[in-house]
């Protein structure tokens, strides 16, 4: 039997996770492409469609059903065709019947020119999943929108074998990763805090773990990710650069299923199934187990050192739970919860106890994470109108404590000093939202809605307590808190004017009230598409976004000391205006696609730390340490993709420029952004060798990040009390980001081997072990000078490239049941 490597297509994974467990369907379509009809069914049922691309080629369907069981709708749809279907789990598998029935044109229209060419006898019985359902890029009006499946995430090799949502998105053109190995995201010249990460449409403020090394999403239960970087649906606003909505799976309705995974750094356990005929559940738990290694390791180290006992424990975890319930054929509801947490305990106990001596117990306890709870109803008001009502609570919290006990022994006298510093930093948002989706007719879809958010920001609540011989000698408490009210409304119309023209127009309006001051924002959105041919589309888009909150961070890593603050004082909401044009080509069978997008983004009222901000007193509001400015970003994104067949993959290339200009930074002169990576190339290949073995490779290369290098030094002033000493050198200021690190490149490999119970994943991060430069630093290098008089050791000042992360192998096993 001849294998047709490109003949099979999986339709799956579209929107509306909320209603996905419903098995009744309401649909009205007249002479619509089969794929379009399927998408509507997928949205309502959560089922995937699996079929051969040849099977549906040019098939147009007209169907009308109002809240009817899925089986009945499918039976009606395929009754007079040579197509048969089978529902297996979450998939609806379509195949050609062994004895094709005559084609009727009474209800379904099939172009006779293509169907006779199909040699039915050569079709496979088996189904190979090779791609996903997402509206073909030539059919939509949007630019820079991407739906990423869980399979794509799992097939992207990652550090320590931890498949990662954000690291998959990093392979998209226009997205820069930031620091080596981290789940950073810098989209089209934006900053890290300009991306809205959502879990089932609810914002997560801290979307990663372990200083940003891993994102906060358990990929074992992720269903798909909607990612928007240019054409932003009017529903979304509040961030300048991108929007990422991670949709989780719904509970299984056809039996209990689960998986358990053990990897190099973490393990996960997931379970889902029905609770009666109308209810399903899903639970997922992921936890790192680094602490399991470090506890015995430290015990060994500490047992060999009586004078110093180190203390270290770190773990992160994610817990997800979700219950879906069908109240009636028209009403579905759900409740879900997410709790993500990082815990770090470190410190040391040092002692040197003699007649005179000392003892110190220095403890750091850090605890930070997110909590999200939401409940929602999906109500089908009319066959063409659905509504979603959601109430959600999202909390980011960070609690840090430093407890330093110091004792000094002097001939029997003991002096004890203790400093305890505690700080809390949290955000609590209550969200109430109503979203409506009205399919006015086959060519017009209108979405509209409103939401209210009550924000409670607590950027800092600090207490510092000092005791001296058990007597409290000083305390310093401070609390900075803000309450804010945010109200948003939006409307968006996706209108297919003709087979060639399509427009998506919308507007998002927002009000943000804080400290008696109300900021307003109007964010118009417009995307136009023109299809000169079936395979080709050219598009243009304009997007405006407004951001009312800003993250203060003093390092390139994601730390629990980072603070989210609302727009206050003299600053205005940040805004960005982006225009983009693009051209898109897709092959007839949809297996190949090419896209080229150009964009220009102008950002206003950006906030950053001013030069020498650390000299500004911390007692003052943080506003004193910030400066406002502008930024521009422009570039071209190219992506060539092969989406199904045994061999799939992509090539992405970005040519980009990004700069910043702040009144109190770099003397007011413009400077390149840190991640102003001129060229970025991403190449990914997935090879399904057979049903059991899959190989994945991903190569990434980009122009080095920018860095501020201080090449000159001068003599330190010889005053300042205790600090200065002769010969001390001080770096001279210079232009910001004046040095570009060398070109970065890396190849990651992974291999998945399936067996009857699950699959093994073997990974190789940085396969050819190219140590990339992640930073530069000033240092000294010892030099040995041999002279007739002897050997002299001296130090030579040098600049050094800091190179990290060599080849790192990984292994994990996932057991499915």
């Amino acid at each position: 039997m001849m294998k047709r490597t490109t003949a099979l297509l999986l339709l799956g994974l579209s929107a509306a996770g909320m209603s996905a467990s419903a098995q009744n369907v309401t649909i009205k379509a007249t002479n619509q492409p089969a794929a379009t009809v399927f998408r509507s069914i997928i949205e309502q049922t959560g089922k995937n469609f699996v079929y051969s691309s040849e099977l549906l080629k040019d098939l147009k369907i007209s169907v009308k059903a109002s809240n009817e069981p899925l089986k009945k709708v499918l039976t009606d749809m395929f009754r007079n065709t040579d197509i048969e279907y089978r529902i297996k789990g979450k998939n609806v598998i379509l195949k050609r019947r062994k004895s094709p029935k005559p084609v009727s044109v009474q209800k379904y229209t099939v172009r006779p020119t293509t169907l006779p060419s199909v040699d039915v006898s050569k079709m496979l019985d088996e189904v190979v999943v090779v791609s996903r359902l997402e509206a073909p890029v030539v059919e939509t009006a949007e630019i820079g929108a991407k739906k990423i499946t869980a399979d794509e995430v799992r097939n992207t090799p990652a550090l320590f074998g931890e498949s990662d949502v954000v690291k998959t998105i990093q392979t998209q053109p226009g997205v820069t990763a930031g620091a080596e190995g981290t789940a950073g995201m810098y989209v089209h010249g934006g900053n890290a805090d300009e991306n809205l990460c959502m879990l089932d449409n609810v914002p997560l403020y801290q979307a990663n773990h372990f200083a940003g090394l891993f994102s906060a999403f358990n990929t074992d239960i992720v269903r798909y990710i909607d990612f928007f970087k240019t054409s932003i649906p009017a529903k979304y606003d509040g961030r300048l650069s991108s929007f990422m909505d991670v949709r989780l799976q719904n509970g299984s309705t056809d039996g209990h299923h689960g998986s358990a995974r053990l990897g190099l750094t973490s393990g996960a356990f997931n379970l889902s199934g029905p609770i009666g005929p109308k209810t399903s559940y899903l639970v997922g738990l992921r936890r790192s187990w680094y602490d399991v290694l470090t506890i015995p390791m430290l015990a060994v180290i500490n047992s060999k050192n009586d004078d110093e006992k180190m203390r270290f424990r770190y773990y992160f975890m994610d817990f997800n739970a979700k219950i879906n319930h069908r109240f009636s054929p028209r009403i579905n509801g759900f409740i879900s919860a997410y709790f993500g947490n990082d815990l770090l305990k470190t410190g040391a106990e040092d002692r040197n106890e003699f007649i005179t001596g000392w003892y110190e117990n220095d403890k750091f306890d850090f605890n930070w994470g997110n909590l999200v709870v939401q409940a929602g109803l999906n109500y089908r008001i009319k066959p063409e109108v659905t509504a979603e009502f959601t109430a959600a609570y999202t909390r980011y919290f960070s609690g840090l404590k430093h407890d330093d006990l110091y004792k000094e022994f002097n001939q029997g006298a003991v002096t004890e000093t203790r400093a305890v510093i505690k700080t809390d930093n949290n955000i609590n948002d209550w969200i109430f939202r109503g979203d409506f989706d009205w399919r006015a007719n086959d060519n017009t879809r209108i979405r509209f809605g409103a939401n209210y958010v009550r924000h409670s920001f607590l950027p800092s609540r600090t207490s510092r307590e000092y005791t001296f011989n058990d007597e409290k000698v000083a305390t310093r408490d401070s609390t900075w808190a803000y309450g804010a009210n945010e109200f948003n409304v939006y409307v968006e119309d996706d209108w297919r004017i003709s087979n060639r023209f399509r427009v998506n127009a919308g507007v998002h309006a927002s009000l943000f009230n804080i400290e008696g001051k109300t900021h307003s924002g109007i964010s118009p959105r417009l995307s136009l598409s023109y299809r000169p041919s079936e395979n080709l589309a050219v598009k243009a888009a304009y997007t405006r976004t407004v951001q009312y909150v800003h993250q203060l961070t003093q390092s390139y890593l994601s730390l629990p000391t980072d603070q989210w603050i609302p727009v206050t004082g003299r600053f205005k909401p940040q805004t960005a205006d982006k225009i983009a044009v693009g051209a898109y080509w897709q092959s007839n069978d949809g297996g190949y696609s090419v896209s080229v997008e150009g964009y220009y983004k102008s950002m206003h009222n950006l906030l950053d730390y001013c030069d020498e901000y650390y000299l500004k007193p911390p007692l003052e509001m943080w506003n004193a340490r910030l400066t406002s400015g502008t930024g521009t970003a422009k570039g071209i994104d190219l992506r060539i993709e092969k989406t199904y067949g045994k061999l799939t993959g992509y090539v992405g290339y970005s040519l980009a420029w990004a700069d910043r200009k702040y009144s109190e930074k770099n003397d007011g002169r413009p400077f390149p952004a840190r991640f102003d990576n001129r060229h970025t190339i991403n190449i990914g290949v997935n090879w399904n060798i057979n049903d059991r073995v899959q190989l994945n490779a991903a190569w990434t290369g980009h122009s080095g990040n920018r860095f501020t290098l201080l090449p000159q030094v001068y003599d330190s002033p010889e005053f300042g009390g205790l600090y200065s000493f002769y010969g001390d050198q001080v770096p001279l200021r210079c232009s910001i980001n004046n040095y570009q690190l060398p070109f970065y490149h890396r190849l990651d490999l992974s291999c998945t081997v399936r067996n009857s119970r699950g699959y093994w994943t073997f990974g190789l991060y940085n396969a050819y072990c190219h140590l990339n430069t992640v930073a530069v630093r000033r240092s000294y290098k010892d030099m040995i000078i041999r002279t007739p008089e002897g050997i002299t050791i001296t130090s030579k000042p040098v600049f050094q490239k800091v190179k990290l992360l060599p080849m790192i192998p990984s292994i994990s096993y996932t057991w499915q049941f």
Binding site: Q411, P618, T708, D715, Q729, A775, K796, K803
Partner: protein, 337 residues
């Protein structure tokens, strides 16, 4: 920074897999003039004129002073001679020109001195190490703590910056002006050790430390600079504490002069440039930013400067001192024990 040290130790397996590679950056940069001066009211002005150099310059240890520099000093816009003594309130401008390194200037106003108005202090005996020695009229060895409260009346309507310093004295001989540790003042038969200064006893010494720095382990140890931000135009009481102060005496005759020791407190009113310089040094050496930038995970911090070229600091100060005498306390302890 303690926490970073612990984290680095734990992350050592990963860090050890990395490496450092020496390189010479290709950055177009020219040396410039550097001015350093601490102007003190009533004292001649001394200016160090040097030039910047490439960090990787192998001859970095050599003398960087600029011999051909022409220095001009202006007070309140009037040129002054080298023997000019600046006064409180004078606006001093220092200008230097060199054929090789160009031009540099800086300006600073000499602040007005602020006296320590009132001193309340209390010594507390903590341990007797040895007492009477046969045949000695004056003998003892004991430890004690000293706690003092010093009132500062901050001038109204000005932004003021301060530095507190102290020294111990014995018979009018001052110990070194060194607030890191105390060296004993030793005589043949007497020894006075000023003890350990407790920086945490006065919260204003850590007002420059933000939440981030605190949590990351930054402490005010060694830092006695502060501003009037929290008490502008009013009186503030500084709390100072010394622990493990030690006094030893062994004299066959009672000599009152051997009791003549104590502390001298000095309040320096300093220019903003002086305060910013000290703050920068703390951030570089004791704050987390220095470490973060050292590891490449944050922007590097550069030296604070108020000189037009960005190199050097021209600062100013005035100061007044007061003393507390331990004679009575020591006399009582020796007689009672």
């Amino acid at each position: 920074m303690a926490i970073l040290r612990h984290i680095i130790i734990i992350s050592l397996p990963v860090l050890l897999t990395g490496c450092f590679e020496d390189f010479t950056p290709d950055i177009d940069t020219e040396p410039v003039l550097c001015l350093n001066s601490l102007i003190t009211a009533g004292e001649p002005i001394v200016v160090q004129v040097s030039h910047t150099w490439l960090y990787t310059d192998e001859a970095a240890g050599r003398d960087h002073s600029v011999k051909d520099a022409v220095i001009s000093i202006f007070a309140n816009d009037e040129p002054k001679d080298a023997d000019y003594l600046p006064q409180e309130g004078d606006c001093i401008r220092i200008v230097a020109e060199s054929k090789t390194y160009g031009y540099a200037e800086a300006e600073v106003t000499v602040p007005y001195a602020v006296p320590i108005e009132a001193v309340k202090w209390e010594p507390v005996l903590t341990n007797i190490l040895s007492d009477d020695v046969e045949g000695y009229e004056m003998a003892g060895h004991f430890l004690f703590n000293v706690r003092a409260e010093l009132d500062i009346n901050d001038p109204v309507g000005t932004e003021d910056y301060y530095r507190f310093s102290y020294l111990s004295f014995f018979n009018d001989k001052g110990n070194r002006d060194d607030i890191i540790y105390s060296a004993p003042i030793a005589e043949p038969e007497v020894e006075f050790n000023m003890g350990t200064f407790n920086y945490e006893s006065e919260p204003i010494f850590s007002e420059h430390i933000g939440v981030f720095e605190s949590v990351m382990g930054g402490s005010s140890y060694g830092f006695t600079f502060f501003t009037d931000r929290q008490f502008t135009g009013s009186t503030y009481t500084l709390h100072v504490q010394y622990s493990d102060c030690e006094y030893y005496v062994a004299s066959q005759q009672w000599k009152p002069e051997l009791l003549n020791c104590g502390y001298e407190f000095t309040l320096h009113t300093i220019s903003k440039s002086y305060y910013d310089w000290a703050n920068y040094m703390w951030q570089r050496d004791d704050g987390p930013l220095g470490d973060i930038s050292e590891f490449g995970f944050g922007d590097p911090i550069w030296g604070y400067s108020n000189v037009s070229t960005g190199a050097g600091v021209v600062a100013a100060q005035s100061y007044l001192s007061c003393r507390i005498y331990l004679n009575d306390f020591l006399d009582t302890v020796l007689k009672e024990h």
